[in-house]
């Protein structure tokens, strides 16, 4: 019987596996940020333990950092960032702090630096670690106790998760993006549909996606409840990696390619579950509720809670509509927005910014709408500025900011006011996620850009063809 991509990576990282115990799995790369690590470092000190492999760890500052120029004014945020700096110094962990030129959202910089490579195991105290699965890695989020465990042992204790193959059938229509594909998939699977599973995405659409698109897909695996998401590496993956600082060079590169090409799931590999999702007729997606599974096509209406079969789903939909200030039956295209956020580990790579810039080029942000672009990393920001995207956004009336997680979770000053409605390229529309009382609608970068111009949700495919090509 053939093997899956997941099984190959799992098997090659088992340090120890005894009946009745979780497996001890080796971690090739441990990503660290300021929010989920301070208590783990304190735990090490308390127990008199060290960091086993600082050379397989890397830290950056992303969740708390302000995206405007000038010093941090929030004393708690400053203290947390200072703690990260002290901890990295004490334990010898490489750190890319604000201003280093290599800082950014941890899931943007890992791939950018070539640290994320096929076949690896990657963990981070952040649920969107699933992003790295786009390279054919086994990558998942962990809690702070597990962060401490990885720091001390470079291993993680894990029960083997189940596997699920998610096959996208066909290719999406023009103007329908990877973000729409994954939102559509979460709508279908539900926010708990992937619990206990590692997803492997496959199909023609996935093969056609760029690495940025694949990262968007894998990033949101956790929103379907999945432990991780992964995509078999191919020439697109290798072309992205070649020449990056962490990528193998010379003869090592050729050897790595041979290893990476052998990772893909065999044709006769068996998954614990398989799902087919047809994307040929998919429309751009907009969430209407308070979790990413509450999603509909832009050309439809806000659903009526009475349409849901399960009592739990009905109650959740009613609560969500009250929170979101929406009436059943309202056309999505009639929903006006106050804010637009283009950013986050889901959609703040250079490709995302190019798509959004093409939509807004030569137009103006609608009166009364405040729109923000936050590049995913300092490198993305530099690249965008070299291409003149910053000027396209600023001429259109967008604010052009410094890299960070920003309004995706609003730990820095970038937050919604109560009642404000936001078209956001981020990954979570939970209550209060972008600010207490704030109302989040998740969309693709193209759809967010179009909403900024129109002041309401519009089907980006109705704009002139140049913008959606």
């Amino acid at each position: 019987m053939g093997k899956t991509l997941f099984e190959r990576i799992w098997a090659s990282h088992v340090v120890r596996e005894e009946p009745g115990e979780p497996a001890l799995l080796y971690v090739d790369l441990h990503l660290i940020h300021e929010v989920t690590s301070p208590q783990a470092f304190d735990g090490l000190r308390l127990a008199g333990r060290g960091v086993r492999r600082p050379d397989l760890s890397v830290a950056t500052m992303d969740h708390n950092v302000p995206t405007t120029d000038g010093p941090i004014t929030d004393p708690l945020a400053r203290e947390q960032l200072d703690a990260l700096r002290r901890n990295c110094e004490e334990f010898g962990i490489p750190l890319y702090p604000t201003g280093s030129g290599r800082e950014g959202i941890v899931h943007v910089i890992g791939p950018e630096l070539g640290l994320t490579q096929p076949g690896m195991t990657i963990v981070c105290g952040d649920s969107h670690t699933s992003t790295h699965g786009a390279f054919g890695t086994l990558a998942f989020g962990i809690g702070t106790s597990e962060v401490e465990h990885v720091l001390a042992t470079q291993c993680i204790a894990q029960r083997r998760p189940r596997t699920m193959r998610v096959e996208f059938v066909g290719t999406p229509p023009l103007g329908v993006t990877a973000k729409d594909v994954i939102l559509g998939a979460i709508g279908r699977l539900g926010v708990g549909g992937g619990v206990g599973h590692v997803l492997e995405y496959a199909g023609e659409a996935v093969r056609g996606f760029s690495m940025a698109n694949r990262m968007t897909i894998c990033n949101m695996s956790i929103e379907a409840g999945a432990r991780a998401g992964m995509i078999a590496p191919d020439d697109t993956t290798f072309a992205y990696l070649e020449g990056r600082p962490g990528a193998p060079k010379g003869a090592d590169w050729e050897q790595a390619l041979d290893r990476w090409r052998a990772l893909a799931s065999d044709d006769d590999a068996v998954f614990d579950a398989e799902v087919e999702i047809d994307v040929r007729e998919l429309a751009p997606q907009v969430t209407w509720g308070t979790n990413p599974g509450m999603v509909v096509p832009v050309d439809s209406v806000v659903p009526d809670p009475s349409e849901f079969d399960e009592p739990d789903d009905r109650a959740a939909a009613e609560r969500a509509l009250t929170y979101m200030g929406l009436e059943p039956g309202t056309p999505i295209a009639d929903i006006r927005v106050d804010r637009v956020f283009i950013g986050s580990c889901t959609n703040a790579r250079i490709e995302d910014l190019r798509v959004a810039a093409a939509v807004v080029d030569g137009k103006r942000v609608s009166d009364g709408v405040r729109a923000l672009v936050v590049p995913g990393s300092a490198a993305v920001k530099r690249q965008a500025e070299e291409e003149g995207l910053d000027r396209v956004f600023e001429r259109a009336g967008f604010e052009w900011r410094r890299a960070g997680c920003s309004m995706c979770l609003g730990m820095n000053p970038d937050i919604l006011a109560p009642g404000e409605r936001c078209a956001s390229t981020s990954n979570r529309n939970f209550e209060g996620r972008q600010g207490s009382g704030g109302r989040t609608h998740l969309v693709s970068p193209a759809m967010a850009a179009a909403a900024a111009i129109a002041g309401r949700f519009v089907d980006v495919r109705e704009l002139e063809p140049a913008a959606v090509a």
Partner: protein, 191 residues
């Protein structure tokens, strides 16, 4: 970690599905670098509503939270589990849990128990419950007993309050041998 053996106390019911960790512990409290003191921020936004379940006087001092499917989904923040424990909860019973939240809870000795939705609904009608981790049984006030499952290794760790890092470090020789035979692909210190 403190050993967990027997949990006895009042039940609080939060009859909602897909409660995410952003609700359990909102982001503004994640800036703290301490591990303790999160109880007062638990469900911070929801508690502003006087009708919120945990504002009801009968839930005061509750030890067991009975709630809906996919509890603790979303963000990996262990602060959510810390908050529940610091508030006074010792166990959470639900039809299913977010994977990371489930692990985080086990690591700190907050007992997550998965049971079929129908049984969870019945338990939601109880005022008090006794949970015997040794026997893996939940007992209601009228003596009715409900068995539950938990990974044997996790149960062992909880019953004995074991430090999992210490357990893994007992296998240091195996870790070192793995490192010798499987050099990691890339060093972060070399780029």
């Amino acid at each position: 970690m403190k050993a967990v053996r027997r949990i006895e106390g009042r039940v609080a019911v939060l009859d909602r599905a897909d409660v995410d960790t952003d609700q359990i512990m909102p982001k503004q409290f994640l800036k703290r670098i301490e591990r303790t003191g999160y109880g007062e921020f638990l469900f911070f936004d929801w508690r502003k509503d006087p009708d919120f379940e945990l504002n009801r006087p009968e839930t005061k001092g509750a030890r067991v939270l009975v709630t809906g499917r996919n509890f603790g989904c979303g963000s990996s923040r262990e602060h959510a589990a810390w908050g529940l424990q610091d508030y006074g909860f010792e166990a959470v019973i639900a039809p299913s849990f977010g994977d990371i939240f489930f692990q985080n809870s086990l690591k700190i000795g907050l007992l997550p128990i998965r049971l079929p939705p129908g049984i969870v609904r019945e338990l939601a009608g109880e005022e008090e419950l006794t949970i015997d981790l040794e026997a893996r049984r939940i007992r209601t006030a009228d003596g009715h007993e409900i068995p539950f499952e938990l990974d044997e290794f996790q149960r062992h760790c909880l019953l004995n309050g074991l430090d999992e890092i210490g357990l893994s470090l007992e296998h240091e020789a195996e870790i070192a041998e793995f490192e010798r035979t499987h050099p990691a692909p890339v060093a972060t210190t070399s780029i």
